[in-house]
């Protein structure tokens, strides 16, 4: 116990907190692993042409592969979070990397479409789910002041890697056809494993507060532990529920431009090249937005939740303006609105995750992120078919974009109902259950087992508590 004290005290007195140093190495690891998860997912479209020809299936059947992969990644996020709470984060991430690679390697041997759903969809999706949320939570735990900047830098990898992966995948498919290309992609995905190894040995293992005894692997105690690892009690807290609902509404409309902007531009009358260029330009400002918003948020002039509301409102407004701008037939207007939309959508991405520890506290962040991903995924699945349906009914994309933008703005309005929204300072996040008095003496073995790791959490939490209200206006 006392051994940890001087460590903790130095951390508390240090004034730097966990920011910086090794944290930036972890940001680099998150950069690489995010690019290998989402950047890779975004560039899978290049394989679809090959699949359509080889398997003689419709484009819709083929597009289910990436939908399955994304859905699996989001569905298994709570599982990844729970496993990290129960065991060592680094091994979870390394296992996830191996699974993702295994899925792609097996996919290279596929002989029918169902094989692809199971391998590229389920297995790789499971691997990605075990990688993304734990890595994000680890990076966020390592930063307080520069948290949003760290996240923004890491997430900029998605846009940058899609730029790099598209021609790379094209080359691989030309040289080795899709089987060989998938095999090599599996190898590339293995690079997630060193990223996980960089996390280092577990600093804390979240001991469930309710475990009474070590023995007894009864169903009830297992369920209790599982529910605490998954942070299921969060689902009953109003701030978390409100925030999750807001982000889900955001998710319904957020992806619609990515799916439909090119088609909409072509329908309005622009050429293929012009439409693709609009998309690329929006992607470029997306990258800028992530980094810029991360840097600006960490300056501390405004509360993160307020900044997030601003970006989401703007993004929603620009989505609604997209069909309006092209009404006049002016390419410049469409380009400007798309650039602004790209910037805002990138800006809000950095903040969405960074706000979570404000609401639930750093120690519950892992499970909170997992649950958030799961719930928002359901909303995301709703968005694309809904907008497609609207387009089929009305004949053009105006209604789809209007509804999408409406959902985004609705998400902002939901966020406004968060408790303490209109306060000038961030409220302190809820404290964890374990005791946080550093002056307690020696305790019984059991209590020490529970409280010693969570002391670290508390101190991190305390640092967060002490920092934020002051830092807001520093």
């Amino acid at each position: 116990m006392t051994k940890l004290r001087p460590k903790a005290e130095s951390q508390g007195d240090g004034g730097e907190g966990p920011d910086g140093g090794y944290g930036w190495v972890l940001v680099g690891a998150l950069f690489v692993s995010t690019s290998l998860v989402f950047g890779l997912m975004r560039s899978l479209g290049i394989f679809f042409v090959e699949f359509v020809q080889y398997f003689d299936e419709s484009a819709q059947a083929i597009s289910w592969i990436s939908s399955t992969g994304l859905a699996a990644q989001q569905f298994f996020s709570p599982l990844g979070a729970a496993l990290c709470n129960a065991y060592d984060t680094r091994w979870v991430v390394m296992t996830g990397g191996c699974l993702a690679a295994l899925g792609l390697i097996l996919a290279s041997q596929a002989t029918c479409l169902v094989h692809l759903y199971l391998t590229m969809g389920v297995i790789s999706g499971l691997g990605w789910g075990l990688v993304f949320t734990p890595m994000v939570a680890t990076v966020m735990a390592n930063f307080t002041r520069r948290r949003t900047l760290a996240l923004g830098l890491a997430f900029s990898s998605i846009g940058l890697s899609s730029f790099a992966f598209n021609p790379l995948f094209q080359l691989l498919v030309e040289l080795y056809t899709w089987r060989g290309a998938l095999l090599i992609l599996g190898g590339l995905s293995l690079n997630i494993v060193p990223c996980g190894a960089l996390i280092g040995p577990q600093r804390r293992s979240k001991a469930p507060a309710k475990v009474v005894s070590e023995s007894g692997v009864s169903c009830a105690s297992f369920l209790q532990r599982a529910s605490s690892y998954l942070e299921l009690p969060l689902l009953f807290e109003r701030p978390y529920i409100t925030y999750t609902l807001a982000i889900s509404l955001l998710n319904v409309g957020y992806f619609v431009p990515y799916f439909h902007l090119v088609a909409h531009s072509r329908q309005v009358g622009f050429s293929e090249y012009q439409a693709a260029f609009v998309m690329s330009a929006a992607g470029a400002t997306d990258i800028l937005g992530r980094i810029a918003s991360g840097w600006f948020s960490d300056l501390g002039h405004f509360r993160l939740i307020h900044l997030l509301s601003v970006w989401t409102t703007l993004a929603g407004v620009f989505i609604m303006l997209l069909p309006v701008s092209s009404l006049s037939g002016s390419y410049a207007a469409l380009m400007v609105i798309s650039l602004l939309y790209g910037f805002c959508s990138g800006a809000l991405t950095s903040l969405v995750f960074a706000v979570v520890p404000m609401i639930v506290g750093v120690e519950r962040m892992m499970g909170a992120l997992g649950l958030l991903q799961l719930i928002e995924s359901g909303a995301g699945l709703l968005g694309a078919p809904l907008s497609g349906l609207l387009k089929d009914i009305t004949g053009d994309y105006t209604a789809s974009f209007m509804v999408a933008g409406g959902f985004v703005v609705l998400g902002t309005l939901t966020m406004v109902t968060l408790p303490h929204y209109f306060c000038g300072k961030d409220p302190p996040p809820p404290k964890s259950v374990s005791p946080d008095d550093p002056d307690k003496g020696l305790h019984a073995e059991l209590e020490q087992m529970h409280s010693s790791p969570s002391d670290m959490n508390d101190l991190t939490g305390e640092v967060t508590n002490n920092r934020l209200p002051e830092d807001t206006y520093s």
């Binding site: 051994k3 966990p18 060989g180 293995l190 577990q202 020490q448």
Partner: protein
């Protein structure tokens, strides 16, 4: 005497009838013209030349009597008469040399050609002296997008090669596939080797499926869109590679990953050993408070310490 003469005549006649025109080109599947020439439909193409030369593309599907008209407004010389000439593929058409008078401030050349089979297609040129000419390029619809990169597949796998006729062009009556054999083309007949080849024809698309690939299957494949007048060809190159090819970069990447992970884990171990010895040399009374639950405390703290750099 007359009987033998009659017999000779009959034999010669039979010989002439049974003799066919020897075609030195690769025999295509174009059927011989069934319609007598004078019953062919007629079509007209006319071009008015403004400059010195012009090329006009003419797309033909069926045998036709094609009337080609050339009109030229003349140049500054404004000669009363000019020599007009027709050429096919650069060679002068017999009896086409004529004198063309200027009528209504222009020169007119017109001729009807019977376009019956593939040899009649090509480039027809009307020339006005050596001053102006108009090229009519007669061809069956050509296959638009020709893939310039080779299609790659693996030994033992199957490959699908497609050919497509654009929507804007008329449909061919059928499709045929050929394989390059030296400089020749050998037709692929799926019925002969049903386990290896399969041809799926739709109106505008055709697919050749080659199964159980071996290395020798690589090379040029030709698809032919058959029209009544001729067959348009397009080619695709097939490359067959063994699975060892992509394995090489894959194994290289796996080795790189293993090396990285080993470096990271070894570095960490060495750091923790250093720090744990340093820590243990410190306050020994603190080690007394170590309990079972904190047995990994030093390792944690040392690794914590290195994180706080």
């Amino acid at each position: 005497m007359s009987a033998s003469w009659k017999q000779l005549c009959l034999q010669i006649l039979l010989l002439l009838v049974s003799c066919r025109h020897i075609n030195t080109k690769t025999p295509g599947p174009t059927p011989p013209p069934l319609i007598p020439i004078d019953q062919l439909p007629t079509d007209v193409r006319s071009v008015a030349l403004k400059g010195e030369s012009h090329t006009e593309k003419v797309e033909l599907l069926n045998p036709v009597n094609l009337a080609l008209e050339c009109t030229w407004t003349g140049n500054q010389d404004k000669l009363a008469n000019i020599t007009g000439l027709w050429r096919k593929d650069g060679e002068e058409v017999k009896n086409s040399n004529q004198t063309v008078p200027m009528e209504n401030d222009q020169y007119n050349l017109k001729r009807v050609f019977s376009i019956v089979n593939e040899e009649d297609l090509g480039s027809y040129t009307c020339e006005f002296g050596s001053k102006a000419k108009i090229d009519f390029v007669l061809a069956a619809p050509q296959i638009g997008d020709v893939r310039d990169k080779p299609i790659v597949s693996y030994v033992g796998d199957f490959v699908v090669i497609t050919c497509k006729m654009e929507e804007t062009k008329p449909e061919p009556s059928t499709w045929y596939w050929y394989r390059a054999n030296g400089t020749d083309k050998k037709q692929i007949i799926a019925a002969e080797e049903p386990l290896r080849y399969e041809i799926k024809n739709e109106e505008r698309k055709t697919k050749l499926v080659v199964s159980s690939l071996v290395e020798t299957d690589g090379g040029l494949y030709f698809c032919g869109a058959v029209y009544a007048i001729s067959t348009s060809m397009s080619h695709v190159e097939l490359k067959v590679i063994s699975f060892h090819e992509p394995l090489k970069p894959f194994v290289a990447i796996v080795i790189e990953v293993i090396v990285l992970v080993a470096i990271i884990l070894l570095y960490e171990k060495s750091q923790s050993k250093k720090n744990s010895t340093a820590a243990e040399n410190g306050t020994t009374d603190q080690t007394n408070t170590l309990t079972q639950g904190e047995s990994n405390g030093p390792a944690e703290i040392s690794s914590m310490r290195q994180r706080k750099v």
